[in-house]
Each structure stands twice: as structure tokens, then as C-alpha cells.
């Protein structure tokens, strides 16, 4: 199971309190994680990536295994410890004031 941790505002929007667990067949990529996440929680569509272009929103970051994965290809396999669930994929609101 791949684990995803959402920022507080998106947890509130999706009405969840903890992590999200997703059962994904390999290869597990950013795109497949987000596809599954948005299928499970349709209200998250457009909040992490643009609905038209599919591009990551400017102030969203993806972290895993202490690495910034934000600028990796959305179709690149995520680190093994993320895909196995040993480490979560962190969806983070960037530091941008507010």
C-alpha cells in the first residue's frame, strides 16, 4: 500500500484525518498516485495539479524519503520505500507566505 500525507487544508476538504492508503499496481508514479487519489476523493481535483494541463500547481511540493520529488517526471517511478509504504509520499504546501 502506498501512503500519502496531505496538507491540513486538503484533509479538511476531503474530510479525512489521517494518511491515505492506496493500493496501486507497479509501476507506482506521481501520476498514478494522483489519479487514484482524485478518483477516491473527487473534491481534490484541481487542488494539487491543474485539471486541464495536469501540471503540478506552482505552490505544491512532493517529498519522499527526504528528497524533493516535485520536479521529477510525473511518470517516473517513485522511490521503492514510498511505493512499498515504508515511507509516505508527502504532498506539501510550499512556503509562500500567507
Amino acid at each position: 500500500m502506498t501512503r500519502v500525507v496531505l496538507p491540513a487544508h486538503l484533509k479538511n476538504l476531503a474530510r479525512i484525518s489521517g494518511e491515505v492508503s492506496l493500493d496501486l499496481a507497479p509501476p507506482v508514479t506521481q501520476r498514478r498516485v494522483l489519479d487514484a487519489l482524485e478518483a477516491k476523493f473527487p473534491m481534490l481535483r484541481g487542488t494539487i495539479r491543474d485539471q486541464g494541463t495536469g501540471h503540478r500547481r506552482a505552490f505544491i511540493r512532493f517529498y519522499g524519503c527526504e528528497e524533493d520529488l516535485s520536479n521529477e517526471s510525473p511518470d517516473a517511478p517513485l522511490p521503492g520505500r514510498v511505493t512499498s509504504g515504508e515511507e509516505p509520499l508527502l504532498v506539501v504546501g510550499a512556503m509562500a507566505g500567507g
Binding site: 496538507p7 487544508h9 486538503l10 476538504l13 473534491m43 481535483r45 484541481g46 487542488t47 494539487i48 491543474d50 485539471q51 486541464g52 500547481r57 505552490f59 505544491i60 504546501g93 510550499a94 509562500a96 500567507g98
Partner: protein, 371 residues
């Protein structure tokens, strides 16, 4: 006895304020969607418990929320705002072409007879429509693709479509206003649009007769006189008596004719309210005195309304969407400030008192009279 519900959008959430028809003792509900910018909350005239809210964030984008129980509970609905066809370009601040880019919904305008049908005004400027309660949104592209569109340029707040007025008599007629493109009218339910800016004088643009480029801050209409429009422009308060065909200035004796909101008394179509602001670079009241000005003559002659409002050291602003009137008799007037106060007058503006003082900066105020 009727009840009143005031819908307040702020920089950090939405609030629902309720009172009975005396409008003295208020209950404060919220924040809803805490931490998000709420540009507008509006209720359906056809079902006062049906509310829509525009919830936005620089991080997470646009969400539309819907309530079926007067704001007690909310459900996110559709947020797919896609420009139709070729996106095209407008002018950027530096005069270069820039592709249209959706940023947020500024204004939500439910139609009078169907709680599921709502118009939405966007930044970058466009108008969208839902007929299924907000699940699906469709652009009416003729406005954005108007031949003048490539000459539209954003104001300081963006290229925002902030005003939507539905003609109460002619259902195919609608007025919109865009900063800083100007005002537009459709007579065929959005299939074609015409600029209605003749007579506006704007020192910020070189050609005073230009059909677009005027920075309209807000327009208002009384439902009994759909040919008469009132406008608070960047500078100047204006009136049209021919559905926007021509405009004349009605600033009269105002201490400053810069400002953002404008509203019409619900029961007196010649009574108009504005909040003068010192200047385009000093967005606070002249002399530090928060004064609403009322004209009972449809403009030109204005009187300051000060009872209950701070008359010293007040440096808040009142934004364009942040004033509303109820339909009771006497008419109630409401406005919110960037300092987080929401003021109410239950006597047409003669006296004021704060409903609440310390909200986040207020972006929008709407009011409903509940059965």
C-alpha cells in the same frame, strides 16, 4: 417575524451572521473553510437555504462549495472552469500579449427562479454558467472572445469579472463589469455582448472615447428600474438611464469620488449609497472618518452618514463586493471592511453599529431575508 442572514466572505474564511428583523442581536457562525480566501458567498432567491461559496487559495486553487441548509453544512461541487475553444490573449500590465489564465471565481450570481442555475464571474475575465447546482460549469465564451478582448488589461486586482446583474424583466439581458475592461451588456442571454462605456471619463487611459479600458469598480441596479444603472468607477460615480447606452457623472458634492462599492436602497430606487475613499493610492477614508454617503436624488446631492461609524483614525477600506442591502422596511444596509468589521444599519443608513469587529479582511457581503 422574518430573519436576516448576512453572508460574509473574508481573506481567511466565510462567516454567516443571523438576526431577527429587528437586526439588533446577531449570532456569528464560522469560520467556514478557515484559512481559504472566500471571494463571494451568495444565496439563491429561489431557495434561500441554497448557498454557493467561492473558496480559493494560492496553493490549492479554486473550490466551489454548496450548502442546502443555509450554511450549516457544505459540500464541494464542481471546480472545472475551462475556457472554451482557443484561449486567446489579452494585454498584460506591461502591454505585452498574455494568454488567458483562470485564477479564481470572483462573483456568484444565482438566477431568481432556479436554485441550480448560477452565473460565475472569473479572473481572468470570463462568465461561466451551471444549471446542475454547481457540478458542471460551462463558459459563455462570446464575452471573452469579444473583438475587444485582446485589448483588455488587468487592474491592480487582476482581470476580474466582479459584477453580474440580471435584468429582472428581460431574462435575456444581463450586465457585467470587468476591471479594467469596463462594462458590457448582452441582450441575447450571452450569445453576443456590447461594451457600454460611452460617457465614462478615465484619466488613466489616453483616449476618453475608448470603448474599453475603463476601470469599473462596481455597478448596481434597482429591480423596478432596469434601465437605470449606477456605477462606482475607479474615480467618478456615474449613472446611466438607458441601460448603459450612455453615462453621466453624479459625483456631486462627494468628498472623494474614488471608491469601490455602490448599492441601491431596496424600497427607494433613487436612494444610492457609496463609501468614498481618499484616492487610488490611499485606500482609506478621507480624513480618517468612515462615512457612508447617501443620495436620495439618484446622485449629484450626497449626505454623509456617520452615526455609529468611527470618525477619527479610521484607515480601513471597503471593497467592491462588500456592501449589500436587505429588502425589509426600513431597509437594512450592510458593509464589511478590510479591518474585519461588519457594520449594519437597520434604518436606511441613519445609524450604524458593528455586527462583528475582528474578522479577517472582508472581501464580500451579501444579505438574505428569510421567510
Amino acid at each position: 417575524m422574518s430573519r436576516i442572514r448576512v453572508l460574509v466572505g473574508t481573506r481567511k474564511g466565510a462567516f454567516v451572521l443571523t438576526a431577527d428583523a429587528k437586526r439588533q442581536d446577531w449570532e456569528i457562525g464560522g469560520p467556514h473553510f478557515g484559512g481559504w480566501e472566500i471571494y463571494h458567498v451568495n444565496g439563491s432567491p429561489a431557495d434561500t437555504d441554497r448557498l454557493y461559496a467561492s473558496q480559493t487559495s494560492g496553493w490549492f486553487g479554486q473550490v466551489i462549495q454548496r450548502s442546502n441548509d443555509g450554511g450549516k453544512t457544505w459540500q464541494p461541487v464542481g471546480n472545472g472552469f475551462t475556457y472554451q475553444g482557443e484561449v486567446g490573449e489579452h494585454l498584460w500590465y506591461d502591454g505585452t500579449p498574455r494568454p488567458w489564465e483562470f485564477k479564481r471565481i470572483w462573483h456568484l450570481e444565482p438566477v431568481p427562479n432556479d436554485p441550480d442555475t448560477v452565473y460565475a464571474g472569473a479572473d481572468d475575465a470570463a462568465i461561466f454558467l451551471t444549471t446542475d447546482g454547481g457540478h458542471q460549469w460551462q463558459e459563455l465564451p462570446a464575452l471573452r472572445t469579444h473583438e475587444s478582448g485582446p485589448r483588455w488589461q488587468p487592474g491592480a486586482g487582476g482581470l476580474c469579472l466582479h459584477t453580474i446583474i440580471l435584468d429582472p424583466v428581460d431574462q435575456s439581458r444581463m450586465f457585467v463589469a470587468i476591471s479594467a475592461a469596463g462594462a458590457f451588456r448582452t441582450d441575447d442571454a450571452g450569445n453576443t455582448w456590447q461594451p457600454i462605456n460611452r460617457g465614462l471619463q478615465s484619466g488613466e487611459i489616453p483616449d476618453q472615447d475608448a470603448d474599453v479600458g475603463h476601470c469599473v469598480h462596481r455597478m448596481a441596479m434597482h429591480p423596478s428600474r432596469p434601465e437605470t444603472l449606477f456605477m462606482q468607477k475607479h474615480w467618478d460615480v456615474m449613472r446611466s438611464d438607458d441601460a448603459g447606452g450612455s453615462w453621466r457623472e453624479i459625483s456631486g458634492n462627494l468628498p472623494s469620488d474614488f471608491g469601490f462599492p455602490i448599492a441601491v436602497h431596496a424600497n427607494e430606487p433613487d436612494t444610492v449609497y457609496v463609501v468614498p475613499i481618499k484616492s487610488d493610492s490611499e485606500h482609506y477614508p478621507p480624513d480618517g472618518k468612515l462615512r457612508v454617503y447617501r443620495s436620495r436624488t439618484a446622485g449629484d446631492e450626497w449626505q454623509p452618514l456617520t452615526a455609529g461609524l468611527p470618525q477619527a483614525h479610521c484607515y480601513v477600506n471597503v471593497l467592491r463586493d462588500a456592501m449589500a442591502v436587505d429588502t425589509l422596511d426600513p431597509c437594512g444596509i450592510y458593509f464589511g471592511t478590510t479591518g474585519g468589521q461588519v457594520y449594519a444599519s437597520a434604518d436606511g443608513g441613519d445609524t450604524w453599529s458593528p455586527i462583528v469587529r475582528d474578522l479577517p479582511a472582508v472581501l464580500s457581503v451579501e444579505v438574505q431575508v428569510l421567510p
